[in-house]
Amino acid sequence: MKKVSKEQIDYLFDYTRKKRVRYYEIQLELVDHLASAIEEKWEQQPELSFEKALQQVYDGFGIYGFAKIVQEKEQAFIRYWRNKALGILKEQLLFPMVLRTVSLTMLIFSALLFSESPRWITISLLAVMFGMAIISVAHNLMNRKKLQKYLSISTGFGLGGAFMSVFFSSFQYLPSLVIKYGVQHPALLFGFAVFMCFSLMLCYVLFIRIPQLAILEVEQKYHFA
């Protein structure tokens, strides 16, 4: 039975790239699909040329070609990483991680309550969060090639990126608000400590943990690439 050759497989990879399939995960699956369909066509018409068989198979993908598959795959990854992030955050509220979460909240609360300068405590906490965002950007630049090749990594990093601008722009008024209202009301200060603890965890998950997981999963899954 006639099989698609190694050179033709390389051609199919080029073909998917020309059809705007940028990411390797999708190219890999489409190339196997195209090759399988071409081989089946050859079973019925062995004289059919590779190019003609490919065109016939591609036509079967309909008017949107590969575009819908790429778009839906991106959505699937966004959903996947969002669920993963929520799962990690939920773990922080369950035993034994909840002990760490409560300790961190109490530490922030005590620091805010007993410090002479709660404003600087707040600024320091924001600096830690900002530091995590910087680490994420550096991590992004160091893994540029992988980000361009794998949609999974690209969406994993993208989750933190989308969050970054909203998060930090809403945080610029916090230090002065804490000074103005928080110091006089310990209950309000405690609520603020809970909020800051949650924000620290969120930054850690989105800027550090998810990008790490995205790279790890790709390295395990596509170890042959």
Binding site: I9, D32, H33, F61, G62, I69, E72, A76
Partner: protein
């Protein structure tokens, strides 16, 4: 085409059921299997199959492995333990839907 639109809502269930029966399958194999089983009356288009597979994978119901076949890597899908539970739920849901449709389409005159 009109006939296929009736199947579209059940595509995930069809995929889960096939994987439950066969253990692991790759994308093209699924399309061909459905075509053969239904004697060509139902064709799953690639544009519908892969988004459905990727969605099921992102929900944690499918896991993937790769094997080298004929100069290329082939992606095989199989059910995760959660996927197996979901298959049972989806099949029960579909069975119940079919029964309800039968009640509507073939009402008992003496009832």
């Amino acid at each position: 085409m009109a006939k296929n639109s009736l199947y579209r809502g059940s595509l995930s269930t069809i995929i889960l059921k096939l994987l439950d029966e066969h253990g692991e399958m790759y994308g093209y194999e699924i399309t061909q299997h459905v075509k053969t089983m239904t004697e060509g009356k139902l064709t799953i288009t690639e544009g519908a199959l892969y988004p459905a597979l990727h969605k099921l994978e992102s929900q944690g119901w499918l896991e993937v492995t790769f094997k080298e076949v004929n100069n290329r890597q082939r992606k095989y899908y199989s059910l995760t333990p959660n996927g197996q539970k979901e298959t049972a739920n989806k099949l029960a849901e579909l069975q119940s839907f079919i029964q309800q449709m039968q009640l509507i389409l073939n009402p008992k005159l003496d009832a």
